[in-house]
Amino acid sequence: MTPLFRLAAKSLWNRRGTATLTAFAIAVSVALLLGVQQVRTEARESFANTISGTDLVVGARSSPLNLLLYAVFRVGDATANVSWETYQKVANHRDVAWTIPLSLGDSHQGFRVLGTSTSYFEHYRYGRRQQLRFTAGKAFADAEGVVIGAAVARELGYRVGDPIVIAHGIGEVSFTQHDHHPLRLVGILAPTGTPVDRTVHVSLDALDEVHRTPAEEAAAAAGLPLDTTPPAITAFLVGMKERSTLFVMQQALNTYRGEAVTAVIPGVALTQLWQLVGVADTALLIVAAFVLVAGLLGMLTALLTSLNERRREMAILRSVGARPGQIFGLLVSEAAFLALLGAVAGLALQQGLLALLQPWIEAKYGLVLALGSPAALEWAMLGGVVVAGAVIGLVPAWRAYRLSLADGLTVRV
């Protein structure tokens, strides 16, 4: 068998140009398939893990999905604000266990700033009811403190004690720097794999202070008492004492005559998101599968068209003792080998592209795509590519078998 394989290898090397192109076509389609599959699963995981154990998300009247997206995922913008009175009404209600106020709208070097209370660090849960942990420092205790997420600390290289200036608006650059009130970093959170990592957390009082008008500044400097009630917040999270009462609270808020607000159950809104996105990501997967089929058909074409030139080669192989059945087996294994080469190269290509694009994707979409070995499903996909290559190889193999039978040792070309 070994001399046969050596000859086959030399034959393949002789046709290395076409063989490389074929393998490359398969590699590109495999990289696309693996890439699409990874983005699908990781995006789903990333969204599902962002919030947990929260009964309601409440904000100004808007679509439930939009509210979830801007309040929890920090994607998109709020339609309007929620008044402090409405927030207090809910926070002080006897059936409510805890609330977390959220105030968005400012930024720090491109990272979103979130104004909130210490209730955030106590009650916010992500993943499977995991609490936020600190790698350095602790939660802010006064109006000067800032807590940043892991990605902010990593990218900007901040340490506990550093001063931080926040800018107005969520653009990357702002012309309104609130540098008359520098804040101090007091805590850095452990990585969570959620938008929390890319957020700068300040207290609501701090946001008020930095937004004061010059007249209010003067009054504060003169020592006159100031009304420190925040005028409005963007949204808030609610946890009820009895989970079954969340429906009543939700309905009461959605029909509240005092202000136009929307209350959404996070699980329901996320399920609606999957139903919307599910169609699109299944379509993407089908497109990727078709691209793979196109790549394999390319290999079939290349093998079939080369058969005519290889008739003399088949005759030579017959002359050294190869049986027609062995010729058949040789061509099937050649196709399977090219598919295997393409699959391995595709995996390497996908990992390489991922390593290149990963930081950009995380910065732009907040989506963390992990490098590393594929999951069971992806290995099955790669195995499927090799098997498909072998199956495709049956066609030229059968043709070669028939040709070598007909030609024998005399090739009538």
Partner: protein, 191 residues
């Protein structure tokens, strides 16, 4: 050609014959106690098929209304009028506690796992309880936990939930519901 054919045939036959052997395990030693089954099978005969009115205590079943209750007003003002008492009805049917039950309903998802499957949800008797229809009373909702989760493709679909029910009544524990089910199985409800 003949030898190739015959070689393939022998290989296939060999594979077919040896595969059942792979699944057989060594018999236990004589006198040793048998290992316990991996999961106690649910006795299908003991599973109670319930209707939503069975969840009400017997004395309340006469006034059973299958539709959504009257909308509560003034909930936010904190005054506890009769309307809010109605939906906070935690009176349970204690005969259902710790029983294996089967109950159909609609799913309101609460917690999702990594793959977007719903692992904790409320089972409610009518659709729309999470959107704009007044919510059902507390003893007409069941808090279900399902470890392997369910892929919810449509929230309009009804499901049979099978599992062990706990009837807790009013509880001081945070997050407790009147009824809970630790679900072992879920099937689509076909009308």
């Amino acid at each position: 050609m003949r030898s190739l054919h015959s070689r393939c045939l022998t290989l296939t036959l060999a594979l077919l014959c040896t595969s059942p052997l792979a699944f057989a395990s060594a018999p236990p030693a004589i006198g040793a106690p048998l290992p316990p089954p991996l999961q106690a099978p649910v006795d299908e005969a003991k599973v109670l098929e319930l209707e939503w009115q069975d969840l009400l205590p017997e004395e309340e079943r006469k006034e059973y209304n299958a539709g959504p209750p009257v909308a509560t007003h003034d909930y936010l003002s904190g005054e506890s009028g009769l309307a809010s008492q109605q939906v906070m009805n935690f009176n349970v049917n204690n005969k259902l506690d710790q029983k294996q039950v089967k109950l159909p309903g609609f799913i309101v998802p609460l917690e999702l796992d990594d793959n977007g499957k719903v692992t904790e949800f409320f089972l409610v008797p009518y659709f729309g309880a999470c959107i704009h229809v007044p919510p059902p009373p507390a003893n007409q909702m069941v808090y279900v936990t399902l470890k392997e989760g369910v892929q919810l493709d449509s929230m309009y679909a009804a499901f049979w939930i099978v599992g062990k029910m706990t009837a807790r009544g009013k509880s001081t524990r945070l997050g407790a519901a009147a009824y809970g089910i630790a679900a072992t199985r879920l099937e689509e409800y076909k009308y």
